[in-house]
Each structure stands twice: as structure tokens, then as C-alpha cells.
Subunit: 138 residues, 2 copies
DNA sequence: CTAGACCCTTGATCTAGGTCTAGAGTCAAG
DNA sequence: CTTGACTCTAGACCTAGATCAAGGGTCTAG
């Protein structure tokens, strides 16, 4: 198989593209297992940890929280119901993103109307943006 | 003009739909001017403060940060360049929202592909979601 | 007058996801 | 053997936007 050269925390931080402190933080948070230690106390990692860190980073980019990622990691190790669970979580995340996009779209449209209606000069009382923000309704 | 009945902090909190603590917080943060006080130390507000609180809430709903809102409030009081500034800030916010939507859309599409490609059962090694997350590239 | 609702201040706490500091020990190259 | 880079721990600190607690004073209806 692949060589099991032991890597220091600095090395895996470098190759996974995360900060050293972040790795120790993930360990505390249960996203990474406690690694072997040298007699000096130095942590020793292998290549698999780099993959795991990349997994975490990518999932984070997809908008998963660390809690959700912890769950995904547990599921991904489960040969039985793991895949179903992962797909479910991903689908849920997808739905949440769709909702967030729709919400932003509403905000965008509202703001866009105001910007279009504002001449950009004149008295504050005539600015539709200021008027809309000061309106008592809602 | 309108009656200048003096309102307690609880009353304006109620009618603006924010918490009492939030009002004091906004005062500390410079979003609200320090109000008059009764001899007892109680804050006394007028109707204009309710409008200002609503302004803040609406701007927040549009995604402005409190820093930006502080700026908007300052601009809205400026008869000279105020309206131009407000329109600029609103346009900038609109652009930021557009970027955020585009970014979410990219994430959404990527995730959607993975979910569609995943059968939802079988071995973890065959799950495209897990495979994509573990991939070393990027 | 009293009970209960309301208000005051200062300062701590919360979420999420880290980031930084201090002080001490370890490792590898020259 | 020394020097400089690296690592260790415990715990404080950061952003943003509040929210809460403790301990005490005030207001008002009955």
C-alpha cells in the first residue's frame, strides 16, 4: 500500500491547506481522531488524515457546519446505512441552500427596486430608499 | 405636529418590535442618540426613535451590517451629499448580494450533481458524494 | 402603603469557527 | 553543541449582534 511515513502537524497543515491551530481545534471538536504521539508528545499523522482534512474543508465550502461534518464523517465510515444517510444530509443541505437563495433573491429584488427608483440626488425626504427604510409598516 | 408624549424604553421596544436590551445596545453602539432622562434616570423617547429603530430593522433585513447602518443613518441626515451616498451604499449592497447569490448558486449546482449521481445505497466507496469530498484536488 | 411591573448599570455569556499568547520542551542542520 | 524552526499545553481572545444576570432603584394601580 502507500507508505506510512509519519507526518508532523505542520506538514499535514501545509498539505491540507489549513492552520496548525485549526487541526488541534478539530481534534478537540472530535472531527479528527486523537493521533499517535511520539515519546516527546509530538503528534504523528499519516496520509489519511490529510484526506480527512480535505473532506472537512470541502464540506465546509459546501456550507455544512462542523456539526454536520462530524455527522457526515461518522456516516461515511458506516458500511450499512452510511450512504443513505450521507445522501439525505446532502439533499437537506441542498434544500437549505435553495431556500437561502430564494430569500436573498427577494431581498435583492426589493433593494434593486429602491435603487432604481432613487435619483441619487435631491432632498433626503424624496429618496425612496430612505423613505422605504423609515416607513412604519411591517 | 405630532404629540411628543414621552415613551419609556419598554414602550418603544414594543412598538418597534425589538428587545429592550437591543435598544440600549444600539445606544452604546452609536446607532441611537443618548435620549433625555427623567430625574430618576429613566430614558425618555419620542416617536422619532421608533422610526429610527424601524429603519435599523429594515436595513438589517436587507443585509446591511450595523456599521453600514450607522453610516446610512449619518448620510440620511445630510441634506447635501446624503442621498447620493445612500444610493451608492445601497447599490454596493445590491452588488454584494448578487455575488453571494452567484456563489451559492455554484455551490448548489455542485451539490445537486452529487446528490443526483448518488444512488443512496451501496458501498461508501461508490458514493459520489463521499468520493468528491475525499478527492485530493483543489 | 405595598405589590408587582418596570427601569437602571456593569459586566458576563452566547454562537461558530477558529486564532493567538505564554512559557516550555524538541528536533535537525551545521 | 548551538541555533533556529518546530511542537506542546492551557487558556484567553476575536467577530457580530445581541442576550442575560445580579443587585438595586422607580413607578403606578389598588
Amino acid at each position: 500500500m502507500t507508505t506510512q511515513a509519519s507526518l508532523t502537524i505542520g506538514r499535514i497543515a501545509q498539505s491540507a491547506g489549513v492552520a496548525i491551530d485549526t487541526i488541534r481545534f478539530y481534534e478537540r471538536e472530535g472531527l479528527l481522531p486523537a493521533p499517535r504521539r511520539r515519546p516527546s508528545g509530538y503528534r504523528e499523522y499519516d496520509q489519511a488524515t490529510v484526506s480527512r482534512l480535505r473532506f472537512i474543508r470541502r464540506a465546509k465550502d459546501l456550507g455544512f457546519t462542523l456539526d454536520e461534518i462530524r455527522e457526515l464523517l461518522a456516516l461515511s465510515a458506516d458500511r450499512h446505512v452510511g450512504v443513505e444517510g450521507v445522501r439525505e444530509r446532502a439533499a437537506a443541505r441542498l434544500l437549505a441552500i435553495d431556500e437561502r437563495i430564494a430569500e436573498l433573491q427577494r431581498v435583492r429584488d426589493g433593494l434593486s427596486e429602491l435603487v432604481d427608483a432613487c435619483p441619487g440626488h435631491g432632498a433626503p425626504e424624496d429618496c425612496p430608499i430612505l423613505k422605504a427604510l423609515a416607513e412604519p409598516n411591517t
